[in-house]
Symmetry: C2
Subunit: 343 residues, 2 copies
């Protein structure tokens, strides 16, 4: 037995803490402390241990560590890749959100488990936590159905959601002030003295509904006979928007203002409308959403609503950590501002 252990030690990889302890002529607990930066170990000893560990190419077995500590140091981030081809996810906006979350988690030295396979219902999410595969969950993009989230709350699973921040969610949500976003778009249109507005988006998504409501509120306040129509884009991809837009424009009177749920959708609108002889900003005002990089370089440069993407990541993470520590953090709403360009 001791025999085997010694043999192992001689191999480059595959040695354990006992081996290091022997080589550094200290006990296992001391090695553990030295490696974890505990102050209970003499600096000279630590240096020796570190040196031996380095020489052996030793790294603490994370699984044993997690097992013992009963904490995984891992957060699962759920991105709905499934609907990727649907276009929503491909949006650079989602990517920025992910980058923000990633960075915030890095700072806290947490690992990201990305959309683990089979995490489709509340039970599997609860299992992931119970099995200590992750300490908490972050849902990005409200593909997440409300009913599942409610179940998760009941199961006491720690999670936060990027999405609509409504009255009193049972869980912690972080999202932009979508109603304000809608209002900003509306004001842009009012300033241009437009009458026939068109909202493009699927208002079954709460986030998008709020934007719509903001837009409508401004139309009402303006009190000048503004008409707001809705073009319901269930399939939120370029192609999806293009097809519904093409059909709509051939059956309806042309709008003089369009508010699209994303810049991507705005681009689709521009393309379809151009084919119908309508050019922005000559024939209609246009406001998109998310301020993705290409929006600034499109023809015309797209006026859009910007969200605080990067901040979103750190807030989501902060709230989740509080939740994991047993607190009950409140939902948070982020700022939104309009970037006025050619359209």
């Amino acid at each position: 037995m001791k025999q085997r252990s010694k043999q192992r030690g001689s191999l480059a990889m595959g040695c354990n803490m006992d081996d290091i302890a022997r080589l550094a002529k200290v006990s296992k607990p001391t090695v553990s402390r030295a490696l974890s930066g505990s102050h209970l170990v003499n600096e000279a000893t630590r240096a020796r241990v570190l040196e031996v560990a380095r020489a052996q190419g030793y790294a603490v077995n994370r699984n044993a560590q997690k097992l013992r500590q009963a904490r995984s140091g891992t957060i699962a981030v759920i991105l709905d890749f499934g609907s990727h081809r649907g276009g929503r996810i491909g949006d650079p906006f989602m990517f920025e959100l992910l980058a923000g979350v990633s960075e915030a988690l890095s700072v806290r030295n947490q690992d990201i488990l990305l959309s683990p396979p089979g995490l489709v219902d509340a039970q599997s999410c609860a299992d992931l936590i119970a099995s200590r595969g992750a300490d908490g969950l972050i849902f990005l993009g409200q593909g997440s159905q409300e009913t599942m989230l409610t179940e998760l709350v009941r199961a006491d699973v720690p999670f936060v959601v990027w999405g609509a921040v409504s009255r009193n969610n049972a869980y912690c949500a972080v999202g932009s002030d979508n109603a304000l976003g809608g209002r900003l778009a509306g004001k842009h249109f009012v300033g241009r003295e437009t009458r026939r507005w068109l909202f493009v988006g699927n208002i079954e998504h709460e986030e998008i509904l709020l934007r719509y409501e903001g837009l409508v509120a401004v139309a009402k306040e303006a009190n000048s006979g503004i008409e707001v129509n809705t073009l319901r884009a269930v399939d939120m991809s370029y192609a999806g928007v293009c097809s519904v837009a093409a059909e709509w424009i051939s059956n309806n009177e042309a709008p003089d203002a369009v508010f699209a749920f994303s810049d991507t959708a705005a681009m689709a609108i521009i393309s379809v409308f151009r084919d119908a002889g309508l050019v922005a900003p000559r024939d209609y005002a246009l406001v998109g959403y998310n301020n993705i990089p290409p929006a600034a370089h499109f023809t015309p440069a797209i006026t859009t609503i910007e969200q605080e993407t990067h901040l979103a990541g750190s807030i989501l993470v902060e709230k989740l950590m509080q939740r994991i520590d047993g607190a009950n953090p409140k939902s948070a709403m982020l700022q939104t501002r309009i970037i006025i360009r050619e359209s």
Copy 2:
């Protein structure tokens, strides 16, 4: 002691395999086998165990499992988020690649550890493997320096890379046939009888160099006095490309054909050139790369080179798995095709 165990069992969460064994009136190994789908267990017994486990909300502790099995069932995917703001990563193309990898890993029931913090040098990568935090690595986007990859090979770390597939890499690389991509663009230009070509991209990136070389080869073959200039875009973001392009166009004769390293860059070119009074396709032919969705809807619709993004994911994963199993899979080159649009 037994006391404690029993108390625990009564709690909804936090029970272990022993508890389930007791409740199901079998031994721990039997529970293990039942849960892992072993055929060494009687079906009636399995059903009973499953039922008890479900009732207790029990899920096998993944960390204990991984510790024992000495396999993590996890693959680390390294995306250079750091250069995100640099624009390279924000490219929807990367996202598609990630989606492809994600899907392929899901199929094999592997978890994705996304760009773990601090994974910056060969040592930390080796440590990640040694500590059994992951069984292998996938590098997406050649932010990965060659020298580090070489060190990783020496350290016998299992990994694969998305990037340039050159002569005899010491490691397994998967990438598109970039030279072909360049040739396809060149042929498009030849067909349009252009003379002054401009290549936009940083040829210090091997992938991009190959595209350049393909383009140049076609120019030579055409043998009709074609001149190929290079606009070296070190900062690959929109803004970066815009600024170098603006400077270039004010100091040089206008090209009649432009091949950009990405659709994103192509959009930047369109925007800058338009300001200089040049409009595609009237004044110049333009070919982008990646076929990102907005390319089709831009003004003009951008001719571009398409890569087999989705396939890339599954091939990368397949090769990596072979590598983990001790084999030495060969690099693979994927198809590339040109999508001709307005430009």
